[in-house]
Amino acid sequence: MSRFFKAERVLLALALAIPLFDLLLEAVGLQEWRVGNETCQRVLIFAIMGLGLNVVVGYTGLLHLGVAAFMAIGVYAYAILTCNIYPYQIGFWWALLLAPAICAGAGVFLGSPTLRLRGDYLAIVTLGFGEIVQDVLKNVPTITKGTQGINPLPPPSVPGYTFNLTVYEPWYYLYLAILVGLVVIVRNLENSRLGRQWMSIREDELAATCMGINATKTKLLAFAIAAAICGLAGVLWASKLSSTADPTSYDFNVSITVLCLLIVGGLGSLRGVMAGTGIVMGFDILLQKITEALQREGLTSSASVFLTPTNWKFLAFGLALVLMMRFRPEGIFPSNRMKGELRVERAEPGVTGVGVE
């Protein structure tokens, strides 16, 4: 238990310190190397996505390859509800509540006919859903403006202050606070009756239903919660970008990246999700910074594919996954349970001491 809190605290401290680190870089004249803005836009958002996907894949054990679709629904719900080319204009905070609710509805809509499927089949259905959502958004231009995307979207504002895109710190701390709040909620769920139901379905669905668990309902709830969390991530993403971007940016790559962070960090473990996101997205940002530096120095151009470090991303990523699966399949910070499931274990006698409370 104490180890859990320690890892969590270190991660939180790191996250809190990044804007200060940026200030330091600025003071010594290295402002091009500042990472806070990218961290805010990528690490925090993807951590929230990972949190959502972890509920479905990590706790409930359903392979879900379409989280980007729910992110896209969140993005467009936010855009349509707040942008001034539409009549609704309900503002950031209401949209922050309403868009995830819409996504949860979409999750139930997708889940109710399909959750009887198992394993690979469910994965294919969710994959298909991801493609459909993208296509629909692209092909109803009267509403979604097609590939142009909807912009500008209003930034969040609190009485007396409106967030603005040139100063990233308020966004950063707002998003971090939301992330921490979500981590607490998801951890509460994990340690509750619902978390137990999810795990029992992952371990043995038949035995769980024989104990009176309504498996469909439980899975549907996991699906809806994941959809809502990913929708929330979409809202935050769009509001920081001030645009929905092109619908094709919410494609399979996003879904699979989120899945990869979970696998690298450790399925079913919250600190695993956080650490996995930090490592994968942090590496991504680092490559981007190196590329930018090389370009500033004129050492590379965007034309040369091999000399541009951002293009190494998937190479390194793939290699890391292969090594991970070979040497530590349970992830960097595995949950105690998943470790047991993924490793063929020597029977270890004695008390393992995973209490309920």
């Binding site: 539409y86 909620i185 009756r193 769980a208 239903t209 024989c210 047991g340 393992t352 209490g355 309920v356």
Partner: protein
């Protein structure tokens, strides 16, 4: 009234008849055993009782009632709501852009208040104007949604969780514990359907949830005490010795507060001392008012504790009666105990 009444149940898998016209009647408070050689269809009978299989023919009555969920007014209302929603969704999906243009896009002027009343009026005007196609898409969508909801409901009428809710719970021949959960959590899973904390209680850790969890843990501890696993509550289920895993499965099933407990070969793989303990445990379970239906191979266990025994062979019931009657029944001896060995 008998507690469980299996009437002429037949279960076929393709051309194979696993269970053929079997009748079993269990009275409240009995320990009723089903025996028979391997492959006689005992576990299949259990599976039809607990809703894992739907019997091809015949009925299973529990306390005189069919275990199916009845078609109530609520079910009809739920299906109707789903049908209307899918119908509306179909209308929206098929007329998305023209509806948007007619209602929102044609009225909204940048930075001017939106005339909601007019937009709603135009929505209905639009629906009326395109009456035929709107009605057609609504009917098709509603039919699809309603039919889908009905099919799903029908298939879930007799799932294991419905049957568990009514007070029938079972253990499995090949132990199916939640291996990576603790002993205590396994028992809590059995109690789960009696716990009532809602999503928001759990998400925000409201006091009600904590209270409920503590009470549940207390009750689970009592149950673990009952089966003799009190001091192992914190262990992972997979680390328990084999006999304890069997007992934990019984505790988990008891946690659902069943009226009828189905035990599928609880003594399999146990040594004589362990199966002796198990017999005592089953008797104690009966004393708490739970009726027990048992599949077992250990003749010592079966003959020692059963009030009544049914014998299956090749899917058919060949004998039923008290242990003495069954023991001396020539057909049983021939089919099951062997011709030479009359003990």
């Amino acid at each position: 009234m008998s507690l469980l009444d299996v009437r002429k149940v037949t279960m076929r898998f393709g051309g194979l008849t696993a269970v053929n016209q079997v009748d079993i009647t269990v009275e409240p408070g009995q320990i009723f055993s089903v025996i028979g050689p391997n492959g006689a269809g005992k576990t299949t009978v259990f599976n039809t009782i607990t809703g894992i299989y739907e019997p091809t023919e015949g009925t299973v009555l529990f306390q005189g009632r069919d275990l199916r969920r009845p078609f109530s007014r609520n079910v009809a209302a739920g299906i109707a709501v789903i049908a209307v929603l899918t119908g509306a969704l179909a209308v929206i999906a098929l007329h998305l852009e023209s509806m948007w243009t007619a209602t929102v896009a044609s009225h909204y002027r940048f930075r001017q208040p939106f005339p909601w009343g007019k937009a709603w009026g135009d929505l209905f005007a639009f629906l009326g104007h395109n009456g035929a196609s709107v009605a057609l898409s609504f009917v098709l969508g509603a039919a699809l949604g309603g039919a889908g909801a009905f099919v799903v409901w029908r298939r879930q009428r007799r799932t294991p969780n419905v049957i568990a809710e009514q007070g029938v719970c079972r253990t499995f021949q090949n132990i199916r514990l939640f291996q990576d959960m603790t002993v205590l959590e396994n028992v809590l899973m059995g109690m789960d359907m009696r716990l009532g904390s809602r999503l928001w209680h759990m998400a925000f850790r409201l006091p009600r949830q904590g209270r409920e969890e503590r009470e549940a843990a207390g009750q689970a501890a009592t149950l673990l005490e009952f089966v003799g696993l009190r001091d192992r509550a914190g262990m992972l289920a997979k680390n328990l010795p084999y006999g304890d895993q069997r007992r934990l499965e019984i505790a988990r099933a008891l946690a659902t507060r069943p009226k009828l407990l189905l035990l599928d070969e609880p003594a399999a793989g146990m040594n004589p001392a362990e199966s002796g303990d198990l017999m005592k445990l089953i008797r104690r379970i009966r004393e708490t008012g739970v009726t027990v239906l048992l599949i077992e191979h250990h003749m010592k266990v079966v003959m020692g504790i059963s009030d009544r025994i049914a014998v299956l062979d090749y899917g058919s019931k060949i004998a039923e009666g008290t242990p003495e009657e069954v023991r001396s029944n020539p057909r049983v001896i021939e089919a099951y105990l062997g011709k030479e060995e009359i003990s």
